[in-house]
C-alpha cells in the first residue's frame, strides 16, 4: 500500500501546482487590478470593468479594467498565455462557443452590456468584426466571400447594391486592383497576404464599427505584413481597431496605444510612443526589451 502513496502524492502536487511567479520578484497580488498608465478614456467605444474570464476553474483574465476609445488603434501585447487573445475574444463574445468559459464583469459597447442575455450575438458580431491569425476564406468565389455577410444581414436588396458593397470593401482592404478581373475565382486560390486582405474585406463588408484582429500578420511575409499594416492605418479613420500581436515592432508601428498583458493581468496601458521609450512598469520594460525570464 505504501508504495502507492508517492504516486498519489505526485498527482496531488501536479494539480496544486502554484501559478508561475510573475517574475522580477513581483507577486500576483501586486498586479491584480493595478494597471499603470492610462487605461481610461472619455466617451469610450468599449468600457470594460473588472473583467474576469474563467476556463473551468482557471482564472485566465484577472479583473481587468480598460476603456477603448473611438477610432483608436490599440495593440495588445504580452507573452504566450498572458490572456490577450482571450480578452480580445470577449469583445464580440467569441468565447461563447467554449463551454467551460465564463466571463464576469461589466463589458459595454457604446454603453450597452455586451453580455446582456437578450442581446443578438449575430448583430454584435456584425458590429464587432474579427480577422483571425490564419486567413480563412470560405471555399467560395472572391465575390461570394465578401458578399456573404451583407447577404445574410440583408444589407443589399439589389445585385447592383451588392456589387457596390463588394467593390467598396475590396477597395477598403486594398485588394480591388489585384482581383477585380477574377471575382468569380475561388478565394482560396489567392496568396496568403491576399487571402488575409480578403478576410479583412469580408469583415468590413458588413460595415462594422470595430475590427478585432488576432495576430493578423503572423502567417504573412514582410511585404504582405507591410500592406496589412498600411491598411490598418487607413481603416483606423473609420473603425476602432484592436490588434493582438506577437511582434512588438508591429505594435509600435501601427497602434496609438499599447496594452501589456502578463499572466492574465493588464499590467500597463499607455500611448505607444511612451510604452516603447519609457515604459512605467518593470515587467513591460522587461518584455519589450527582450529580457523576459
Amino acid at each position: 500500500m505504501n508504495t502507492m502513496n508517492p504516486v498519489i502524492d505526485q498527482d496531488a502536487k501536479v494539480e496544486k501546482a502554484p501559478e508561475p511567479p510573475a517574475g522580477n520578484g513581483i507577486n500576483d497580488a501586486d498586479l491584480e487590478g493595478r494597471t499603470v498608465g492610462r487605461p481610461f478614456a472619455d466617451a469610450p467605444k468599449f468600457s470594460l470593468r473588472d473583467v474576469e474570464v474563467f476556463y473551468g476553474e482557471t482564472r485566465a483574465i484577472k479583473r481587468i479594467s480598460l476603456d477603448i476609445a473611438r477610432n483608436e488603434v490599440i495593440a495588445f501585447i504580452g507573452p504566450s498565455g498572458c490572456g490577450k487573445s482571450t480578452f480580445l475574444r470577449c469583445l464580440n463574445r467569441m468565447n461563447d462557443s467554449i463551454d467551460i468559459c465564463r466571463v464576469k464583469g461589466q463589458l459595454q459597447l457604446d454603453g450597452h452590456d455586451i453580455y446582456d442575455p437578450k442581446r443578438d450575438v449575430v448583430e454584435l458580431r456584425a458590429r464587432v468584426g474579427m480577422v483571425f491569425q490564419k486567413p480563412n476564406p470560405f471555399p467560395k468565389s472572391i465575390y461570394d466571400n465578401v458578399a456573404y455577410g451583407p447577404r445574410i444581414h440583408g444589407l443589399a436588396n439589389r445585385k447592383s447594391d451588392l456589387d457596390d458593397i463588394v467593390e467598396r470593401s475590396l477597395r477598403g482592404a486594398g485588394l480591388w486592383n489585384e482581383v477585380k478581373d477574377r471575382l468569380d475565382t475561388p478565394g482560396t486560390g489567392l496568396s496568403g497576404g491576399q487571402q488575409q486582405r480578403l478576410c479583412i474585406a469580408r469583415a468590413i463588408a458588413v460595415s462594422p464599427e470595430v475590427v478585432l484582429m488576432d495576430e493578423p500578420c503572423s502567417a504573412l511575409d514582410p511585404i504582405a505584413t507591410a500592406r496589412i499594416e498600411e491598411l490598418i492605418a487607413e481603416l483606423s479613420e473609420s473603425y476602432t481597431i484592436i490588434i493582438v500581436t506577437h511582434s512588438m515592432q508591429q505594435a509600435a508601428r501601427v497602434s496609438d496605444r499599447t496594452a501589456y498583458f502578463h499572466l492574465g493581468h493588464l499590467v500597463e496601458v499607455n500611448e505607444t510612443n511612451k510604452v516603447f521609450t519609457t515604459p512605467q512598469h518593470p515587467l513591460t520594460e522587461s518584455y519589450i526589451t527582450g529580457r523576459f525570464g
Partner: protein, 239 residues
Amino acid sequence: MKKDEDVYGDHISHQFNEDLAGLKEDFLRMGGMVEQQVVDAIDALIDGDGHRADEIRGRDKQVDRLELEIDEEATRIIARRQPAARDLRLVLSVIKMVADLERIGDEAKKIAKFALSLSEEGKAPRGYVETRHIGNHVSQMLRDSLDAFARLDSEQALRIMKEDKRVDEEYQAATRTLVTFMMEDPRNITRCMSVMWVLRALERVGDHACNIAEHVIFMAKGEDVRHTPMEEAEKVVGR
C-alpha cells in the same frame, strides 16, 4: 537601483547583452582617452612642454577613429536589435555623447596648440593658477560624468550639472583678471589672449561634461532635461 551589470545585461539574447556591454565599454574607453588628453594638455601648457603638446595633437586622431567606431557599433545595434526602452535610450545617448567626447578631444587639441606656441614664445606671465584650477575642476567633472554613466547614477549627474554653474563663474572671474592685466601692460596682450582661449576651451569641456550628465539622467529616468530649468531636472531625478 539595480546594479549596473543587471541593467543592460539580462536579455534573453546573450549576444545582445554583449553588444550593449561592448558599446558601453568603448564609450568609456573613449571617455578615458579624452580625459587624459585634457589633463595632459593642461600639464603641457603649465610646464611649457612643447614636445608633450605635440604628442597630444597627434593622439587626437585616435579619438576621432574611436568616435567613428562607436557610431558604427550603435548603428549596427539599432539595425539588428531594434532596441526599446532603456536599451534604446542607452544607444541614442551614446550616439550623442560621443559627439561631446569628440569635441572635448578637440578642445584638448586646441589647448595643446596654445601650449606649443606659448612654450616657444615664453611663458605667459599670468593666468596659470586659474588655468590649473579650472582645468582640475572640469577634468573632475568629466571624470564624474563618465562615472555617472558607468553606474547610471542620475544623482551624481545632477551634481555635475550644478557644478557647471561654478565653472562658468570661475571662468568669468579669471577672464576679468586677465583683462585687467592686459590693460596694465599692452605687451602682455598676445600671450594673455592665448591663455584666455585656453580658459575658454576648458569652460567648453565643462559644458560637454554637463551634456553627458544630462544624457545620463535621460538614460536613467527617461526624461530629457536638456534646456530645462535646474528645478525641473531636480524633480526628474527625485522621482
